[in-house]
């Protein structure tokens, strides 16, 4: 029995040391990244319809992370005042809040989100409310399509 306990203790120590020995300043999420060529976020945002349903690899600074579930993050574009949302299925990948201000490499599919005029008003109203900004519903004149990246895998580096 004593020997059995000793083996268990050694296994536990090995598991812990292995986990921490490989801890580095980069963290991987989801599936491994397969693409080599990086697509500029600004190119996707300039003509998103050309990238819809296509797999892309993007790189940028994490500027915001979903505070509750870690189910999305925004990454900065290579051009000023631009960002793109990276979405994951709840629980499949959880982006940590501490990722803000770090560099992310994300592989995923560009997806289009189509909203009716009413849905668009609701969405933009909610976003404005979140930012504490004023929103004029009459500024929405018709249906809206937005684009985001459905992430398959990501690497976040310090």
């Amino acid at each position: 029995m004593f020997r059995f306990n000793k083996v268990l203790l050694i296994l536990a120590v090995l598991a812990i040391t292995h986990t921490y020995a490989y801890a580095s300043n980069s963290e991987n999420f989801g599936k491994p990244i397969t693409l080599q060529e990086i697509t500029k976020v600004s190119d996707i945002l300039a003509s998103p319809e050309n990238y819809a349903n296509k797999k892309v690899l993007v790189k940028g600074m994490v500027v915001e992370v979903c505070a509750k579930r870690g189910c999305w993050m925004d990454i900065a574009s290579d051009k000023a005042f631009e960002k793109i949302q990276i979405k994951v299925l709840d629980g499949v990948i959880v982006f940590p809040l501490s990722a803000r201000g770090k560099e992310a490499l994300v592989e995923g599919k560009v997806e289009a989100l189509n909203y009716t005029k009413e849905e668009a008003i609701e969405l933009l109203e909610h976003k404005a409310e979140e930012k504490g900004e004023k929103f004029d519903p009459s500024s929405v004149t018709g249906p809206l399509t937005t684009y985001r990246i459905k992430a398959l895998g990501a690497t976040i580096t310090e």
């Binding site: 598991a15 600074m61 509750k68 005042f81 959880v94 201000g101």
Partner: protein, 185 residues
């Protein structure tokens, strides 16, 4: 019977081994279950402050201006990154702190995040952020729980065993999730 003796030994010793992780996983499970109400891993504290407006005229804010903002706020001068999501808004990233500055109004929101002691560690393991060898260990633990449940059914014989009231309890335990699946599924 000899098989029951071994059944009980396995159940007892496996039970001892699994105590620690079962309690940790259960605590993390409760914490993560209420993710709508709180962030179970990080404590988030927001502070609203006001500084003098910065007339940026839609340009990018310079490092010197960021240093001035940090000095006014009484923060350390070091920052990791900056980002301007819009011409009149800047986000400054410091270690564990994100500062949003509305340049035209001077409204500032500082959002400080700290790891929740204990919960950060148990969620780290429970949600398998460790990955690598921990994945295997967690799989073995899950298999041990199955074995623990199965052997548990055969610990006692007679009226209090699986052929007696044990059967009713096992059936009840199976009916509860099925019922919830029928109601919410």
């Amino acid at each position: 019977m000899k098989w029951r003796k071994w059944n009980n030994i396995i159940h007892r010793d496996l039970g001892y081994i699994c105590v620690g992780l079962t309690i940790l996983y259960a605590i993390s499970g409760i914490a993560v279950n209420h993710i709508h109400d709180w962030n179970p891993t990080y404590k988030i504290v927001k502070h609203k402050e006001k500084i003098d407006p910065i007339l940026s005229d839609g340009r990018l804010i310079t490092d010197k201006e960021i240093q001035n903002i940090l000095k006014t706020l009484g923060n350390k001068p070091e920052y990791k990154k900056k980002f301007q999501p819009a011409p009149n808004l800047i986000k400054i990233y410091q270690e564990g702190n994100t500062i949003d500055v509305e340049l035209l109004t001077g409204d500032v929101i500082q959002e400080k995040i700290t790891k929740r002691p204990f919960f950060y560690q148990v969620n780290f393991l429970h949600l398998n952020h460790a990955k690598k060898l921990w994945t295997w260990f967690a799989d073995i633990y899950a298999a041990a729980l199955i074995l623990l449940a199965v052997t548990g059914m055969f610990v006692l014989k007679g009226k209090k065993g699986i052929k007696g009231r044990g059967a009713w309890f096992v059936t009840g335990g199976l009916i509860i999730p099925i019922l919830f699946l029928l109601i919410y599924g």
